[in-house]
Each structure stands twice: as structure tokens, then as C-alpha cells.
């Protein structure tokens, strides 16, 4: 085993480096990703090592980034695009939903779009407006896009490589507040879990807590804290948001009879809505209580001095679990 200890930021960097070594058609594109190495330093050193033809500091225009990525893909390249912050993906929204997502379908399968759209997402970093959004539901609602979210360094190292290798476009969501928070040992010779699969990250019996991205640590924190109250929570890291991998979820809910979904995105029409609808349909007779949802409130993302009250935390998760158990 060749293990290295890495933060999530480092895991992304190492994963991207390996993907670029493996395939000379992989190019990185984005604002400030070259000389600076990105505002989060995810691409640190890559322009130096791979040159500015493969690590491209683009003009400040996101529709331009995605639109030229489509053209590069048509020429046989595999662009990996960095959107600087979640809130700046919207100028590129049209190219993503009308071009990237549809190309394979409309071309009768002839033309693929092997593009990865990396988006640092979510809040909790004390930022100003537009730097803490969670846009995943909008992409997951769009057929033709795959959407994944990583939650820990080890997964991240593999997931980014799997996403780059994917022949389909992948919206790759990175919980920015975890970039530098924890480290993990990564065996770079291990066999990774398949990209589009969910995983039980903590087995338990009292209720099922479903989370992805930054919410996984919140869910795990809740599970820890719940022990004191005699709760034994099962936590599932969804990892893939489109397609959803409902197998492990349904299995778990059939066992526990209760489910709580946690995410930072607004609750209304967030991923929790879809997951609740599917669980209700598939596990109708197993449910002891309705699927409950803990999400960001249905307001715009608030000023940072009050964001902790807005973001789901372990108390809100445990409160939902309690309500579920009391149903």
C-alpha cells in the first residue's frame, strides 16, 4: 500500500495531476487556475508542470468557459472546468443545460461531452453574497448531466479521476469548507468504489440519515452526539445525486423505518424532495414516519454573521430524528 496523507484540496490536486498524466487530452480551464493555482489552490503547480496549453487561465466569462469547453470536447479534448464559486455558475447555465447536457441525445449518441464542471459549493466560510450557494438540484433536474458530491479526501481523490474518465458530463461538487479541514490517508493503489454509488458510512438501526457533500460531516456529528441519547443512526453518503443510487437507501429505510435527508440547499425542491418522494413510493409500508428534510431555509443565502443559524447543524438533524421517532 502506497499511502499518503492528504487534505481534500490536496486530494483534488493529486487526482487531477494523475488524470492529466494518464490522458494528454485532459485540459483544465478556469479563472485564476494557472499562475495562482486557483483561489482555493486546487490546481496549484499544475500549470507549471503541464504548461499553459493544458492549464488555461480563461478570460473572466463563464459562458465562455463552458462554451469553449464544448468546442474542445468536439475536437477530442476532455476539459475539466473550474467555476470559481457556486454563485458564478449561472452565467454558464445556458451552455450547461442546453448544450453540454443535450449534445449526446440530440446527436443520436454520436457526440459525447466528456466535460467535468468542478464547483466549490456550500457555505460556512464567512463569505459575502454568491459565494455559498448550493445549486445541485437544478443540475440534477437536467437530464444528460451527472451530478456527484464528495465529502472526504479519500473519496475525492478517486471521484475526481473517475469523473474525468467519464464519457458523460459530470457536475462535480466540492464542499469548499472542507477543502483544508481534515486529512486522510489515501492508498493511491487501492481499487476505488464506483463513482455513481451511495455508501453507508455509519451503520445503525434507529433511523437513516441521508447526506452528501458538506452535510455528511454534519450527519456524522449528529450520529456521534445521538449516542448519548441512545440513538444509533445509520448514515448514508449519497455521493451521486444524478443518477441517484437508491438501492442502499431503500435497504436502509426498510430496516430503520425512518429517514431524514440533510443538505444545505433550500429545502423547497431540494434533493430532499426527490429522495423523500422516492422513498415514500418504494418503502411505503416500511415507513414509520414520513421522510423528514433538514435543509437550508427558503430564503436567499444570508449574511455570513448569521449563516450558522441558517445552515443545517447537528442539532437540527437530531431534532428531525426525534420528530421522526415521535411520529
Amino acid at each position: 500500500m502506497t499511502a499518503t496523507t492528504m487534505s481534500m484540496a490536496k486530494a483534488l490536486n493529486a487526482g487531477l495531476r494523475r488524470a492529466m498524466d494518464d490522458d494528454s487530452k485532459v485540459v483544465l480551464m478556469g479563472e485564476d487556475i494557472g499562475r495562482l493555482g486557483g483561489v482555493f489552490r486546487i490546481t496549484d503547480g499544475l500549470q507549471k508542470d503541464f504548461g499553459d496549453e493544458r492549464v488555461i487561465d480563461t478570460p473572466l466569462a463563464e459562458s465562455g468557459i463552458l462554451g469553449t469547453a464544448v468546442g474542445l470536447a468536439l475536437r477530442g479534448y476532455r476539459p475539466v472546468v473550474e467555476i470559481q464559486f457556486d454563485g458564478f455558475v449561472y452565467p454558464a447555465y445556458d451552455q450547461i443545460v442546453s448544450q453540454v447536457a443535450k449534445y449526446r441525445y440530440r446527436s443520436g449518441g454520436r457526440v459525447g461531452m466528456p466535460i467535468v464542471i468542478r464547483i466549490p459549493f456550500g457555505g460556512g466560510i464567512g463569505a459575502v453574497e454568491h459565494h455559498s450557494e448550493s445549486p445541485e438540484a437544478q443540475f440534477a433536474h437536467t437530464p444528460g448531466l451527472k451530478v456527484v458530491a464528495c465529502s472526504n479526501p479519500r473519496d475525492t481523490y478517486w471521484m475526481i479521476q473517475q469523473a474525468v474518465a467519464s464519457p458523460d458530463p459530470v457536475v462535480f461538487l466540492e464542499p469548499k469548507r472542507l477543502y483544508h479541514s481534515t486529512k486522510a490517508e489515501i492508498d493511491v493503489e487501492a481499487t476505488p468504489t464506483p463513482l455513481f454509488s451511495s455508501q453507508v458510512v455509519r451503520p445503525g438501526t434507529s433511523a437513516t440519515v441521508l447526506a452528501y457533500g458538506p452535510a455528511v460531516s454534519v450527519a456524522m456529528g449528529a450520529a456521534e452526539a445521538g449516542l448519548a441519547d441512545g440513538l444509533d443512526l445509520e448514515v448514508i453518503d449519497l455521493r451521486t445525486l444524478s443518477p441517484l443510487d437508491m438501492g442502499p437507501v431503500h435497504e436502509s429505510v426498510r430496516k430503520t423505518g425512518r429517514a431524514v435527508v440533510v443538505h444545505e440547499a433550500h429545502r423547497n425542491l431540494g434533493m430532499g424532495a426527490e429522495i423523500a418522494a422516492r422513498i415514500s413510493e418504494e418503502c411505503f409500508y416500511s415507513l414509520e414516519a414520513p421522510v423528514l428534510r433538514v435543509g437550508g431555509y427558503d430564503t436567499p443565502y444570508p449574511p455570513s454573521r448569521v449563516e450558522e443559524a441558517w445552515l443545517p447543524d447537528l442539532d437540527r438533524v437530531l431534532d428531525a430524528v426525534d420528530r421522526s421517532l415521535a411520529w
Binding site: A61, G67, Q99, K146, D168, L244
Partner: protein, 369 residues
């Protein structure tokens, strides 16, 4: 708005069919080449009129006619080298013709049986793009790919490649088109921006998009722009040839404004009498892109009369074939709905397909009962 119309326009063949000199541009083909262009013009027009008729008979859902823009499209399309790549809007039937895309592929799209199924790589011709302006960025990105392939400025024949991005006068207002200008300039990408200014964006005249001639937009982004008589196939060919060569050599992007006219409706669902005068249309008829080439060929006796009758016959035959093939087109099998969303069907989509299949079967059983 005199300056929207008045600035000098590169012209090599007058509406009367006389060849004229231009200090910067010359057409590099002989009369046989011109005769071949004429054939393209006639056949392209025939595809177009046939499609319009088919739409009227309910065989197509809609059709976007290129009537009046044949010279702009054939002139530029024939300037492309095989290794060059073209990105069309929804109206580039003449360019498709030059790229050997069977007109049936276009008719299937407008009939509604598919959304564009030629292989872009086989024809070096992108899929039709309806969202205005989006393809100009694709073209620029493709050109960036050419650069990364080392296929610019080598001087090796048949290796250096360029891209042409088609768009309309209305499209120049879109953010995407201007971002394409930015990217192409900064990257020095081998792309030719080819704007067919057909004077109208549906019902809006060009004055709703700009107050200066469109070719001037380029200078502000740092590359050359030129306005050419879009109804003069020789001038369009010459100007495009030069721009493509520039691009292939590594001298970067340029903008061509082909000053032309949409003789017909925006599409078959449009009624242009609501917003423009027929005398404008009449005036443009005098500048018909086909007439002047015919007049020239006749004047210099480049071809005999059989040439013209042969082409007419060929056009007739083409029309008959298209009519028959369109009418014979089957509707797609609904279960194909669920394929090609991804490279491999996801379990979710497989389940939807199965749901659809069993439900359809149950319906049939019910009907059969």
C-alpha cells in the same frame, strides 16, 4: 442610419453579372469553378423551395428558408478546406450542402424525427444550433483544440486548419457571441466569424441590434472585420478564403459581415408582411445571388445552354427524391426516447423505459380487447 448601409462592400461580381476588380481581394478560380458554384447555388435553392413546399403540405414541422442567402453560404462553404470545420445556426443549408451532408438529414430534423444525426466529425460540420449564438463559443473552443493539436501555422499543406462560425445579425447582440470574440482574440484562435447580416432578426431590423455596421465590431476586440456583398458568391469566396488562410497561418480570428437579405419569411410560421414592406423585398430581388452568376456565365460563354438545362434536370431529380424520401420517413419508435441520454443507460432510465414499454403494451392489450 445611412452608415448601416453605406460603407464600402467588397464586390467582385455586380448584380448585372459583370466582374469587377477589388484592390485587396480576388477570386482565385476559373470559369469552370464558377460554373460549379452556380450548380451549388441552384441545387441549394432547390432544396430550400422543396422544403418550404413540404412544410406547406404538412410533411415538415417547420422550415427556416435560406432564400436569398445562397451566395453567402456557398461562397463561404466552398472556401473551406476539407480539414476545416464549420459551426452552423439553423439556416446553413447551403453550407451543409458544401460539407456533403445529405439534405435528408436536415429535412428529418425539421420534420421532427430527430434533432440532427449527421456525424459532425465525418463532415466537419457541427450540429444545427438553435440557441442564438451558442455555437460561436463552440467554434472558438474547437479552434483552441486545433491550436493544441499543433495544426496551425505549420505551413504543411492539408494540415493547418481553421474553423468558421456562422451566425446572424441578431446574434451579434448575444453575450455569447461577444465572449467568443474575447476568447478568440485573447487565444489568437484560428476562427472566422461569419455573420450573415440578412437585415432581419425575425421582425427586428438590424438597427435594433446596432447603430454602426456590424463588421466594425471586430476592431474593438482586436481583429479585422470586413463587409462583403453577401449576394456575390465570388466576393464571399475570396474574402472567406483569405480569412481562413489567415487563421490557418496563425494570424488569428477575423469577422466577415456578409451583407445579404432574407428574401422569405423567418421560418414557415412567420408572416413578414406584418413588419416589412414588399418594396424592400422587390429591391433585393434585383440583387439575386443566382441571377448574376447565370448572367456572367452566359455573357462570357463559359458554358453552353445544356449546362443550364442539365442543372435544372438535376434539381428536379433532387426535388423528387427528397419529396419521396421525406414522405416515406417513419416516425421514430418511442422506446428510442430513452437511449443516448448517457453513454450507458442508467438504471433509472432503464426503469423508465421498462415502465413505458409495459404501459404501452397494456394499452395495446386494452385496445385489442
Amino acid at each position: 442610419m445611412a452608415d448601416l448601409v453605406d460603407p464600402p462592400l467588397v464586390q467582385l461580381l455586380t448584380p448585372e453579372g459583370e466582374r469587377v476588380e477589388h484592390p485587396d481581394y480576388r477570386f482565385d478560380g476559373d470559369d469552370q469553378t464558377i460554373a460549379a458554384l452556380y450548380r451549388d447555388l441552384v441545387l441549394t435553392r432547390r432544396v430550400d423551395t422543396e422544403a418550404t413546399a413540404l412544410q406547406r403540405h404538412g410533411e415538415l414541422g417547420i422550415w427556416a428558408s435560406l432564400l436569398g442567402q445562397e451566395a453567402a453560404q456557398i461562397g463561404s462553404g466552398r472556401a473551406l478546406a476539407p480539414q476545416d470545420f464549420a459551426f452552423p445556426t439553423y439556416r446553413e443549408h447551403g453550407v451543409a450542402w458544401c460539407r456533403d451532408v445529405d439534405p435528408m438529414a436536415l429535412l428529418r430534423l425539421f420534420r421532427g424525427t430527430d434533432q440532427g444525426t449527421w456525424d459532425p466529425d465525418e463532415h466537419n460540420f457541427g450540429l444545427y444550433t438553435i440557441v442564438i449564438g451558442a455555437q460561436t463559443l463552440h467554434a472558438t473552443g474547437y479552434a483552441m483544440g486545433i491550436q493544441r493539436d499543433g495544426a496551425v501555422g505549420t505551413g504543411e499543406a492539408g494540415r493547418d486548419a481553421a474553423v468558421v462560425a456562422y451566425f446572424g445579425d441578431g446574434a451579434t447582440s448575444q453575450g455569447d457571441v461577444n465572449e467568443a470574440f474575447v476568447y478568440a482574440a485573447v487565444m489568437n484562435a484560428p476562427v472566422v466569424f461569419f455573420c450573415q447580416n440578412n437585415q432581419w432578426a425575425i421582425s427586428e431590423p438590424t438597427t435594433r441590434q446596432t447603430r454602426v455596421p456590424l463588421y466594425q465590431r471586430a476592431a474593438g476586440f482586436g481583429f479585422p472585420g470586413v463587409r462583403v456583398d453577401g449576394n456575390d458568391v465570388l466576393a464571399v469566396h475570396a474574402v472567406t478564403t483569405e480569412a481562413l488562410q489567415r487563421a490557418r497561418e496563425g494570424s488569428g480570428p477575423s469577422l466577415i459581415e456578409a451583407f445579404t437579405y432574407r428574401m422569405g419569411a423567418h421560418t414557415t410560421t412567420d408572416d413578414p408582411t406584418r413588419y416589412r414592406h414588399s418594396d424592400e423585398v422587390e429591391r433585393w430581388k434585383l440583387r439575386d445571388p443566382l441571377e448574376r452568376v447565370r448572367a456572367y456565365l452566359r455573357r462570357v460563354n463559359a458554358v453552353d445552354e445544356a449546362f443550364f438545362t442539365d442543372i435544372e434536370a438535376e434539381a428536379e431529380e433532387l426535388g423528387v427524391r427528397l419529396r419521396a424520401e421525406v414522405r416515406a420517413l417513419p416516425d421514430p419508435d418511442p422506446t428510442t426516447l430513452f437511449g443516448n441520454v448517457f453513454t450507458e443507460q442508467t438504471p433509472e432510465l432503464a426503469a423508465e423505459q421498462e415502465e413505458f414499454r409495459s404501459w404501452s403494451a397494456s394499452l395495446e392489450t386494452e385496445v385489442a380487447r
